[in-house]
Symmetry: C2
Subunit: 352 residues, 2 copies
């Protein structure tokens, strides 16, 4: 156990930061939220908050001086911000890990390099690249911006070469990537944690259902066989170890009809598909992440129950009265004011 | 459902307020802590905090103006404070309920009046009263201050008339009560909740082990038969209803050898013997209390697991490294600086 952390700095103020701050509090650790937005959900459950930009070096330096460790709740914290802070106080995950996850080309190159399968892909910098790529990796695919996409934003599906020009125009000049369509049987994810001593612990894979690019449901256990389960965990461990990662990492995978697993995406943070661990395990993904980034030993990820987690998105918030009245429903609301379409307002977990 | 509560005011800043604030946050409700102590554990997980005395009417009025509902984390909030606030915003539990629980004579008179057994008792205002009481209710008993005792403080055990003078002197002139010793088989407690519509929901009784007047362990289920279980719940419901109570109330009982149940104490608040509900139920006692005082429907108190909760008191904090490494141990630390003897530093719950 390294020097105990009295205050953990968290970059970002959304619901993931909010649940991290509450997990830190459960371990007696204060949270200090750093976030450009006033009145962020995470700040409202934290001992301290700084409202400033990620390029405000004076505010960043003061923030670093007020905490013993720093982590992030989202992968798009500028790597330069993480580097600036890491000169002053331990920052996990590292700027290098963030950089890989921030760029879909860097991410897929990294994965393939360490022997992990992905959908076929090509970097797309011009319409010519796209036309060529469609002939090389198949007529259908998804064109995505290399950076800053989430919840299906910055993505266009192509059903053939005829869609190329419009899809390319939708990227608005941003560097892009074409990913071949994965004809998967199911989407699963592994929530892995790696401690400062290199220990890796994985939760049981969840099986996920998305619609409109947004996660709707995670169910554990996933309907996969033991061999697939073991392979999925081994892949997550290989990724975390190759990144020299510290903290929780979410690894989304496609389970293919032939038994192969392709990694879709890695998220260097606590993950929406791991929310079920709050009720399903003695140590949630949030506490596990806090433990890792604070240099504490990882907890046991064993699951004591089966679980199904549903996100409450946009108007789903109108179901809250029914959820409050439903026996066995564990409800989480994020304290966001306005229920815009596609906005994650909360989630509900049911154990069985 | 009454007008939704955006911010819940909580009087008191200790660990109970801390866990209440986190439960409120889970439902998207901000907490505003009002407490005379700077840097209170509850304030560090809350959206707002006011540091002021319970008799500071200006601060109280501003506090009332900033919240839609108010509750307390401890029973010794002055009733005058609760009344002052209740003129401005709904306050639960009521000043009347607090007053009964604040005075052991008022509490026992109330209980006996509604047909609930207690240990035999006498109000003690002078040494003569004590001498007489010892002849009437038996030679052994516990002399307690009528007000402000907790965790065994303000209590002296008498093993016969020879101890009377010294015990009486220990009360230092404070009004007191003599309680006959209860030769109980076990101590149990019922955590009940009553909603604003009069609905009562009880968690399964816990079986408690105290030492030196401080709770060490709660275990559910308690080793009691079905009839005792049902009687215990019915008694808790009768108490909550007779008080026209809103919120969670802890009812400590002695299970006697002859099958009788004597109520030892009522606590008009979330209760240490209900901490196991955080892991053991979909809706914890903290969320249940928040629901009740905010006018939301009560949740289902069904228990999905057996549980054992241990308090971490004083030096027990030294076991934290072992607890962090223990599979299945759900650890809660309260963020208190100094581990003084007898101070509750945290707790750990194990499900089975």
């Amino acid at each position: 156990m390294t020097k105990p952390v009295a205050t953990l700095g968290i970059l970002g103020g959304g619901q993931l930061g909010r649940m991290l701050a509450m997990a830190a509090a459960r371990l007696g650790i204060d949270a200090h939220i750093y976030c450009p937005d006033d009145n962020a959900p995470a700040a409202r459950v934290s001992a301290r908050a700084t409202v400033a930009g990620y390029d405000d070096e004076r505010a960043l330096a003061a923030f670093a001086g007020s905490v013993e460790a720093i982590t992030t709740e989202f992968e798009n914290v500028p790597a330069a911000t993480a580097r600036f802070l890491a000169d002053r106080v331990p920052v996990h995950p590292s700027a290098a890990a963030l950089e890989i996850a921030q760029d879909r080309v860097a991410e897929k190159s990294f994965l393939n390099k360490i022997g992990i399968d992905t959908a076929p892909w090509r970097a797309i910098d011009g319409l010519d690249d796209l036309t060529t790529a469609l002939t090389e990796i198949g007529p259908r695919g998804i064109l995505k911006t290399r950076r800053l996409g989430y919840d299906g934003k910055g993505q266009v599906r192509l059903d053939g070469p005829q869609d190329a020009a419009e899809a390319f125009a939708a990227m608005a000049g941003a560097p892009a990537i074409l990913e071949g369509l994965a004809a998967f049987e199911r989407e699963i994810s592994v929530i892995a944690a790696r401690g400062q001593d290199g220990t890796v612990r994985c939760y049981d894979p969840g099986e996920n259902r998305h619609s409109d690019g947004i996660l709707r449901e995670t169910r554990v256990p996933a309907a996969i066989d033991t061999a697939t389960h073991d392979t999925a965990l081994a892949m997550a461990e290989r990724i975390a170890t190759a990144l020299d990662y510290v903290g929780v990492i979410g690894v989304e995978m496609f389970a293919m009809a032939d038994g192969a697993l392709w990694v879709n995406e890695i998220a260097p943070r606590v993950h929406n598909t791991g929310h079920w661990t709050i009720e399903g395990c003695a140590v949630s993904q949030f506490e596990q992440h806090v433990r890792a980034v604070c240099g504490l030993p990882l907890g046991d990820p064993a699951r004591h129950s089966d679980a199904v987690m549903h996100n409450l998105i946009g108007d789903d918030i109108d179901t809250v009265p029914a959820l409050l009245a439903e026996a066995g429903a564990a409800l989480h609301l994020y304290g966001k004011g306005e229920a815009r379409p596609g906005r994650k307002m909360g989630h509900v977990t049911r154990l069985s």
